[in-house]
Amino acid sequence: MATQIRVKVNGIDYNNQVEPRLLLVHYLRDVLRLTGTHVGCDTSSCGACTIHINGKATKSCTILAVQANGCEIKTIEGMADNGKLHPLQEAFKECHGLQCGFCTPGMIMTAADLLEHNPEPNEEEIRYALEGNFCRCTGYQNIVKSVQFAANKMKEGVNV
């Protein structure tokens, strides 16, 4: 029953036999042991599992591993560049944009997609973009500030 898939994850090629029903998030977590991507629900609502597939933020609990065959994937573990943190990672620390840390990887991946398409979002645009990512700890306030902080840094070209 197993199916062969080839994917590139955080720049590394993988070639695995997987059950057709295996969700991509479980492939990443249990097969590749990239446990930074989390599972918070079973309805594609919470966004804790958000990753990038071919550069686009995607909830990895909503896609089968076999559907990702041939895709290029980036997870939170691949956000730093040669040990240098992505500006959003720095910003979440700087602005206290996280508490328990469980939603954080998904938040960062969603925010990265936002900034890719809209480098200077206003507060309303940031809040709207993060609507599919739940955080129970922060009240979102410092997450919004983190995204603003990162946007400013990226605009200045610092850390990029």
Binding site: D42, S45, I76, K93, G101, R127, E131, I143
Partner: protein, 790 residues
């Protein structure tokens, strides 16, 4: 004792963030043990049903199945215990029916576990669980606490008449309160429901238990706020295991909010099962399971009456509450609606006569227990709703009515604490101060003018107040023991100075987002005058931390931090003896400052690192002193701490649709001294969001058959980023007079204060439009607000 190096009071960036922002956090579900197996549960689809038969035949033969256990297999195992004894008014003990690890005879709520399947993979366990055929006979159920206590209601437990776990009262004799209410010039009455909400930590509960047959020992990883308490309850009360053979680890935990305090059946069952099968067993809840099995919060049906004299001074308060406990008593299920609720109904006011009466009722629903604030939000909600409603009824300003009734300021040092009518003695407070500051931040007078103009634009503007107090720093063991707690509530802090002067701190508090690894390191580094990087905070593992009571009730810094401080002081005292010996002076002549032991009045000194090395390489050492520099301390507080504050909400209500938009939220919280303002603000933000969530969005909805009809994120309205404005935070500092740091606790303040402020604001908006509405049931959806306006 020692001067500071300026770390206390600074917004130091969090130490723990490094792993979380890079995907290197380690949560329970991230752990896969060698030879791992996976569990899946068969859970009752009915709220109340006899279990006629469980057919395992097909499931047993399915691929990968390792074992299946049912209620019959654990019939001889104890159930999970309740940690707090509450008595009936007549002195009878509360009813405490067994909460079994798996049910054999009857299911008592949707989600009650009937069988566990253990397999080689999670998918195989799920497949086999679906193949188990359980025959049920559905029985009538009861969902509502008030209805559940009426004669003739379907019984949750056959041996609990009227489903009454306890009836309980606190305060002045009821006859005196009745008399005071009867002779009041004005009485405001409110009948309302404080609806059930679901904690919804984003990390679902998970556990992974393993048994080592070589030395008869167990390791349980569990997503818990208090691993030591889980070990104690599981070993001593459920499984009868020797504690020293059981290690419980709570690694990174993705939020708790109360729901991960309790000892859950899954923890004990997995630990029982791992020995049976000789392999590690792991279970991670699906979100649907979380909705059905994480303990829920609130769920009170209340009638409250507040009396006033002709000058608007409060004369009396009479409260009758039916508290829904769910199908079983959760670990602190009995304590939350009584000792954490009834004891707080004095609020910030001088009300001379108070009686609060609470009936705890079993229903065919998920157990109810502490949820962020735990009892104190319920107390604040009823009080603060009454105050704004009374102000409206008496046509006085709600802020003025509060100023008239506040307890005057007291510092708890020069002036004594304030003795309430409901058992507690407040430590220190300046209640008018927070309201004054809130009004200033709000621009109150201008906003009232704006309110008058708003209705011209099809909107109604409302301003709602809440001035709250909470009892935190839980708690003095002697006090809680006399009130029915079955455990002590001290905390333990060990400070181990390593030979090179690096410091390992072992705390029984547990961080699941609160930032202890930063805050605790700040206080230790500050007091010892060493860099923060030289301090490591260890928590969450019963093998490295000897004892602990965990994190809940905003207790970590006030109780856990104080325990650490006690050990730090012991380190400094011993350090002085070592330094004195090295410097050949009397220890009385040594003072410790900025990481240096100095002979008073001279420049002769020896550094902290030097003393540490000497303690472990004691070639030149005081002859009557043991080597080493390592102290452990228990701290048991003398009183609760009492943070307080003022929350003000400004809302806009659409006249046509009833939609509520939160325009502004001002919070002035006094949490005593602050170690890390950034972290405290973050705690307030999160708490406020959860409290607003209850007011506007959230609520468990059960239908008449006991089905949770919104048990998923598609249906339960979780607050999202675009539901909130930027919260406006102000502060005031009234130090706690009885703990070494002067801190009071900040974890729950936001949730406790915010809910009534928002509801009051919506009602104020409606009143400004001429709609005489007394109550709207939370959450205040557009539909409910629209209906209230018709």
């Amino acid at each position: 004792m020692s001067t500071t190096n300026g770390l206390i009071g600074r917004s130091v960036k969090r130490v723990e963030d490094k792993r979380f922002i890079s995907g290197k956090g380690r949560y329970t579900d991230d752990i896969i043990l060698p030879n791992q197996t996976y569990a899946s549960f068969v859970r009752s689809p009915y709220a109340h049903a006899k279990i006629l038969s469980v057919d395992l035949a097909e499931a047993k033969g399915m691929p990968g199945v390792v074992a299946i256990f049912t209620g019959a297999d654990v019939a001889d195992v104890n159930g999970v215990p309740c940690g707090w004894q509450v008595n009936f008014k007549n002195g009878d003990l509360m009813k405490e029916p067994k909460h079994p690890l798996l049910v054999a005879d009857k299911a008592r709520h949707v989600g009650d576990a009937v069988a566990i399947v253990i397999a080689e993979s999670k998918a195989q366990a799920d497949d086999a669980a679906r193949a188990i055929d359980v025959e049920y006979e559905e029985l009538p159920c009861v969902i509502d606490a008030f209805k559940g206590a009426q004669p003739g209601a379907s019984l949750v437990h056959d041996d609990v008449p009227n489903n009454m776990c306890f009836d309980w009262a606190l305060g002045n004799p009821i006859a005196e309160v009745d008399e005071a209410i009867a002779s009041s010039a004005h009485v405001t009455t409110l009948e309302f429901v404080n609806q059930r909400v679901i904690p919804n930590a984003i990390e679902p509960r998970a556990c992974n238990s393993s048994f080592d047959a070589g030395n008869d020992s167990y390791v349980l990883y569990t997503s818990s706020q208090n691993p030591h308490l889980i070990r104690l309850l599981m070993c001593a009360f459920v499984l009868g295991l020797p504690e020293h053979k059981v290690r419980v680890v709570s690694p990174d935990v993705g939020g708790g909010f109360g729901s991960k305090i309790f000892h859950y059946t899954e923890e004990a069952l997995l630990t029982w099962a791992t020995k049976k099968i000789g392999r590690p067993v792991k279970w991670t809840a699906t979100r649907s399971e979380s909705f059905l099995t994480d303990a829920h919060g609130r769920d009170h049906v209340t009638k409250a009456e507040m009396g006033f004299d002709k000058d608007g001074k409060m004369t009396a308060l009479r409260i009758k509450t039916f508290a829904n406990l769910g199908a079983y008593l959760s670990t602190f299920g009995s304590c939350v609606p009584t000792y954490l609720h009834g004891t707080l109904v004095q609020g910030l006011y001088t009300t001379p006569k108070i009686n609060v009466d609470v009936t705890g009722v079993f229903t065919h629903t998920t157990p109810v227990d502490a949820y962020r604030g735990a009892g104190r939000p319920e107390a604040t909600y009823l009080l603060e709703r009454l105050v704004d409603l009374a102000a409206h009824e008496m046509n006085v300003d709600p802020a003025e009515l509060r100023f008239k009734n506040f307890i005057p300021p007291f510092d708890g040092i020069g002036q004594p604490g304030y003795q309430t009518q409901v058992a507690l003695q407040y430590d220190s407070g300046n209640y008018e101060g927070v309201l004054k500051k809130g009004l200033e931040m709000l621009g109150y007078d201008a906003l009232r003018k704006e309110q008058k103009d708003a209705s011209k634009n099809g909107k109604l503007l409302g301003i709602g107040f809440s001035t709250y107090i909470e009892a935190c720093g839980i708690a003095p063991s002697a006090v809680v023991g006399s009130l029915g707690a079955r455990a002590g509530l001290y905390e333990v802090g060990q400070v181990r100075v390593q030979p090179t002067g690096k410091v390992s701190v072992y705390t029984g508090s547990h961080s699941h987002g609160q930032g202890h690894e930063t805050t605790f390191a700040q206080i230790v580094a500050d007091k010892l005058g060493i860099p923060m990087e030289d301090v490591e905070i260890v928590h969450g593992d019963s093998e490295s931390v000897a004892f602990g009571m965990g994190t809940y009730g905003s207790r970590s810094l006030a109780v856990g931090g104080s325990a650490i401080m006690k050990s730090v002081y012991k380190i400094i005292e011993k350090g002085k003896l070592i330094a004195a010996h090295k410097l050949e002076v009397s220890a009385d002549d040594i003072e410790f400052e900025s990481g240096k032991f100095t002979v008073k009045g001279t420049d002769k000194s020896v550094g902290f690192v030097d003393v540490a090395l000497t303690a472990y390489v004691p070639h030149v050492f005081p002859p009557d002193l043991e080597p080493g520099l390592d102290f452990s301390s228990f701290y048991d507080p003398t009183n609760f701490t009492y943070p307080f504050g003022c929350h003000i909400a400004v809302v806009e209500v659409d006249k046509e649709t009833g939609k509520v938009v939160l325009k502004r939220f001002v919070a002035v919280d006094d949490v005593g001294n602050i170690i890390n303002p950034m972290i405290v603000d973050g705690q307030i933000h999160g708490g406020v969001a959860q409290g607003i969530g209850q007011a506007l969005f959230e609520g468990a909805e059960y239908d008449e058959n006991g089905q949770l009809t919104n048990g998923s994120y598609m249906d339960y309205c979780m607050p999202r980023a675009d539901d909130f404005p930027m919260f406006e935070l102000g502060g005031q500092v009234t130090p706690c007079p009885h703990n070494p740091l002067g801190v009071k606790g900040a974890g729950e303040a936001g949730t406790i204060g915010s809910t009534p402020a928002v509801v009051n604001a919506v009602l104020d908006a409606l009143w400004s439009g001429g709609h005489e509405v007394k109550d709207i049931r939370m959450p205040l959806t557009a539909e409910r607000v629209w209906r209230a306006m018709q």
